[in-house]
């Protein structure tokens, strides 16, 4: 029986070899870009230019770092609606995301049919996901079955929140993955809340990672605010999967620094609670570690911020100039179309 084990924070002197100093800088830049995009998207909604947004503020470390461990385009990835940082790290562009948020026909993800940020890309082997919580978990296991059957040395990474672990889908899928030692990594972003329901009323026993033992697979608890620890845990799990050593369940503790979505009041959390979360924001923490270690120059964070802000505004404008879908398009692709 496997016991779950926590991953200890990685000191910066010990940067994972497969990441390297350049990788660490890249990781920070991805997190920063994600954060700035996230903030921009909420502004867009507040300005009435979009109906809805849901982002991963406070999840950037967990999302960007884990996605960097993916062999993008070779490994398979199932995201969920909160996976903005993973998407950016995998290779979705802010421009593409604006197209969805602004409801443009040219949105390559869903043609603005889905709510924003329901990622999908054939090129990135990121199959389309729905809003129905946890439905992608059995999909991931099916994909892992397919690649295993064909003997391909690739892994499938599947993201979801801790609320999703309460669903039957989670259980049925992990059981099959455990039974057949399928090459899949389950990555739970535990932000302590499923809309208004806190962890204590969501996960009996209190630990997602501990559930792994019951499925005969390793469970890993990792500090989802520490990008390097997340990278290491995910990298190891993906390697295990790729070399045929079976599935892993990773639980990364994150913060939800925004309301659940732009439709949510967040009234069930107090200002004090929110302030306490903000104080633990993974972004400045990582920046300061990198500055202290001399991995980024003192002026870089601000310079990058300005650059990203400018490019995001340009992306937004470029996207905004495009037309929405037409009523005539509505029934296209209900079924396969003649090719």
């Amino acid at each position: 029986m496997h016991r779950y084990h926590p991953v200890v924070a990685t000191p910066l002197t010990d940067v994972p070899a497969s990441l390297g100093a350049d990788g660490v800088r890249r990781l920070y830049r991805l997190m920063l870009l994600t954060r700035l995009l996230d903030e921009r998207l909420w502004i867009v909604v507040r300005q009435g230019k979009a109906h809805f947004v849901l982002t991963g503020r406070g999840h950037e470390a967990a999302q960007c770092a884990s996605a960097l461990a993916v062999h993008a385009g070779s490994d398979w990835v199932y995201t969920y609606y909160r996976s903005l940082g993973a998407a950016i790290a995998l290779g979705f562009t802010p421009y593409e995301i604006f197209l969805g948020v602004l409801g443009k026909a040219a949105d390559p993800i869903s043609g603005a049919r889905q709510l924003p940020n329901h990622f999908s890309s054939r090129r990135l082997r990121t199959p389309t996901v729905s809003s129905s919580v946890a439905t992608q978990i059995p999909h991931a296991v099916g994909t892992a079955w397919a690649t295993h059957l064909r003997g391909e040395p690739v892994a499938t990474l599947c993201y979801f929140g801790e609320g999703a672990t309460s669903k039957g889908e989670f259980h049925e899928a992990l059981n099959v993955a455990g039974l057949h030692r399928l090459p899949v990594v389950f990555f739970c972003e535990n932000n302590g809340w499923a809309i208004s329901v806190p962890l204590a009323e969501q996960v009996a026993g209190g630990s997602v990672a501990a559930r792994a033992a019951g499925y005969g697979m390793p469970g890993v608890l990792v500090d989802g605010l520490d990008p390097l620890a997340v990278y290491q845990a995910t990298d190891e799990a993906l390697r295990r999967a790729r070399r045929g050593d079976g599935p892993t369940l990773i639980e990364a503790t994150c913060l939800r620094l925004t309301p659940h979505s732009s439709d949510d009041s967040d009234a069930y959390r107090s200002d004090d609670e929110r302030a306490a979360l903000a104080a633990r924001d993974p972004l400045p923490a990582f920046r300061d570690r990198l500055l202290a270690a001399g991995l980024i120059a003192p002026d870089e964070p601000e310079r990058w911020t300005d650059e990203f802000r400018a490019s995001l505004l340009a992306d937004q404008d470029r996207a905004d100039a495009l037309p929405p879908p037409t009523a005539e398009r509505a029934r296209r692709w209900l079924y396969q179309e003649p090719r």
């Binding site: 109906h51 889905q114 709510l115 329901h118 039957g168 809309i195 329901v197 439709d263 879908p325 037409t326």
Partner: protein
């Protein structure tokens, strides 16, 4: 008499039932701390406590299944699915369990549960916050299906549903929640399940509809009145059992039948109404039956594309005019 929106009417009726009867309890995702995503149960946690207002995990099988098990033990649970789109994971508990309990125990056990779910489109919700799923339950014996259109009806129907000894699916169209206020009896008489209501009288044609369709129908009828076409609107209110008598009476008068709903056309509730009429009212019909319904498609995030699927005012007018002039 207070003036309530449909949302308020539902909230206050539910609250009144919980005050009156200790066995009425509420469970679902975000129903307690948050008071539901639409605020239907706002304030309930404070008044009735966390055991009678249970925030469940994200687990629709558990929501439906626990409600059923609690009903076995004598409670009258009102279970909420956060959106009708998320009722599907609990489908087995509804179709194989709730619907069969009384019949399979030759009357020894029952399932007095109300399963509530906000439904319907027009809110930029995409394909998982827009669905009309009511027809998926009307084929299943043992269930009842309700979908009110007005604050007053919502109050009386919810009261009847909670007091009913059998499982009732109670759908609430999101676009009806705050459409308007009207005076509602704070102690409303239960409206019998299975009784349609003539929403307005007319002679030219019968428009059978429900939910948001009633409001669309009213607008169309107002318009057509000016053209001398008077539309009799039948608000079904209960979709299962269907009040075929009221439909028959109206068609006997008008000889023309149109059916309108937001849900998809194919095997929507309109199919059953049309089939009933084609079987039983054939000789009264002077014209082909007309179904006005969604264009058999999922629903998108953008309003532009949604208009290509859901019946638009102009479509409704054109269809009714054609029928009137047939």
């Amino acid at each position: 008499m207070p003036e309530w929106t449909m949302l308020e009417a539902i909230r206050e009726t539910l609250r009144a039932e919980m005050r009156e009867d200790d066995s009425v309890v509420v469970l679902g995702e975000d129903v307690a701390r948050k008071g539901g995503v639409f605020g239907v149960t706002a304030g309930f946690l404070e008044e009735f406590g966390p055991l009678r207002v249970l925030d469940t995990p994200v687990a629709e099988i558990a929501i439906a299944g626990m409600a059923i098990g609690a009903a076995f033990a004598g409670l009258r649970p009102v279970a909420e699915f956060q959106f009708a789109d998320y009722i599907h994971p609990g489908y087995d508990q509804l179709v194989n369990e709730a619907a069969t309990i009384r019949w399979r125990s030759v009357g020894e056990w029952g399932c007095p549960v109300v399963f509530r779910a906000p439904c319907g489109a027009g809110v930029f919700g995409g394909l998982y916050h827009s669905q009309s799923v009511e027809a998926l339950f009307c084929h299943v014996p043992g269930l009842k299906v309700v979908l009110p259109s007005t604050p007053r009806d919502a109050a009386g129907l919810l009261r009847a549903a909670i007091r009913d000894d059998d499982p009732v699916l109670f759908f609430e169209h999101k676009k009806s929640y705050r459409r308007y206020r009207e005076p509602v009896d704070a102690d409303p008489a239960p409206i019998p399940l299975g009784a349609a209501r003539i929403d307005r009288e007319g002679d030219t044609l019968t428009l059978v509809t429900y939910g948001v369709g009633v409001h669309w129908g009213r607008e169309a009828a107002d318009f057509l009145a000016a053209e001398g076409i008077t539309v009799e609107i039948v608000d079904l209110r209960t979709l299962k059992p269907l009040d075929t008598e009221t439909i028959a009476r109206s068609v006997a008068k008008t000889s023309r039948l149109a059916i309108l709903h937001e849900a998809n056309r194919t095997l929507g509730v309109g199919a059953e109404v049309a089939a009933f009429a084609a079987e039983e009212l054939f000789d009264s019909l002077d014209a082909p039956i007309v179904r006005i319904a969604a264009n058999d498609c999922h629903l998108p995030y953008t309003g532009e594309e949604e208009r290509g699927i859901i019946p638009q005012p102009a479509d409704i007018l054109a269809a009714l005019r054609r029928l009137a002039r047939y």
